[in-house]
Symmetry: C2
Subunit: 208 residues, 2 copies
């Protein structure tokens, strides 16, 4: 943020992002054109594409921050924790501290609303899932490293992350269709779904 040039650039990007999110969450993603965004910020359409690879990238920018936050949390888990426990703790801690991370850029409320938009907009939801798949691969590597394993030789890191990721995506989805759109509700849901993994995998459900 040294020079004037850099500050101006940052301001343009911020305006673009904030305006985009505002429009997405009010009139919907599909209903908002890039021209709308550019016009609202009073820059050319071309400029928008110089800051964001596409409409999609702007829509997922906050999610990207959250993801980075979680991955960092996983990396910082103490090595003695069992793999699944490390993932669990990282996510729970992530929810607790996400507020500050997001508020540094936009109101947390905008993030939560955007989350809904993502879950309910097919093309965004698809992109979100693809991104999740990428993240899972990198987390599997982190896990493997923690345990001193080779991801390509031992399937357990990837399997563990696949299972965990599956449950996390379920959690996100159920949160988005629920009524309580708070980070706290997200946290609570996370805990309850994770503790259902054991029971769900048990032989028969009838003998609960």
């Amino acid at each position: 943020m040294e020079t004037l040039r850099e500050r101006k650039k940052q301001r343009t990007r911020d305006a673009l992002l904030r305006t985009a999110l505002e429009l997405f969450t009010t009139q919907g993603y599909e209903q908002t054109t890039v021209d709308d965004i550019a016009a609202a910020v009073d820059v050319s359409q071309r400029t928008f594409f110089r800051y964001f690879a596409g409409k999609e990238e702007a829509a997922l920018a906050l999610e990207e921050m959250a993801v980075a936050h979680f991955v960092a949390a996983v990396r910082e888990r103490p090595p003695h924790e069992a793999p699944m426990e490390a993932l669990r703790q990282a996510v729970l801690e992530g929810w607790d501290t996400l507020n500050d991370v997001i508020e540094a850029v936009v109101p947390i409320e905008l993030y939560l609303r955007m989350y809904q938009v993502i879950e309910s907009t097919p093309v965004l939801f698809a992109a979100h899932l693809r991104r999740s798949a990428e993240i899972e691969e990198s987390i599997a590597r982190v896990l493997a490293e923690r345990e001193g394993l080779d991801v390509d030789a031992d399937p357990r890191p990837r399997v563990a992350v696949a299972v965990f990721g599956g449950v996390m995506r379920l959690t996100e989805r159920q949160w988005s269709v629920g009524e309580d759109f708070s980070l706290d509700a997200m946290r609570t849901l996370t805990v309850s779904y994770l503790e259902q993994v054991g029971p769900a995998l048990s032989e028969s459900w009838r003998t609960r």
Copy 2:
């Protein structure tokens, strides 16, 4: 397939689909325009969009058939099987019988090659994942019904499917980056990843 009109329609659709898949698997998805496909079949671009909602739909048409095949297999599992076992058996049986289902439309080889294209083309992969998420929801309902549960009251059906689905997507991905692109390899991978779920969830991996 009664009238001439219906037969002609079917032929146009077949030609469109087959040509599209052929082009996608040879020059790549992004490199193939709808105009290319339409031109190769000698119909107008507009006609392509009358048969497929978009380029994407054509690319995922076979996958859609396979999915329907699997879902049907799950529904036909004997009620006494434990949930996870029913899913496992359905998928394995699915792989065994998929050949005939696909061959009825296009050479199985085209399906396998298209699968690779999907996994390696971001936008297609994303769409594929989104579709998988939809399927998971419907399978969770099947499972709940089998067990006489309410999907919204008992989390276990959705959790079980989320876990299973996570592992299946991992399986697909690893298959697509491997060397053996046969249905048999897919089957083998499925078995080996599924049996890693237990070990991956265990407390510590070091005391294997």
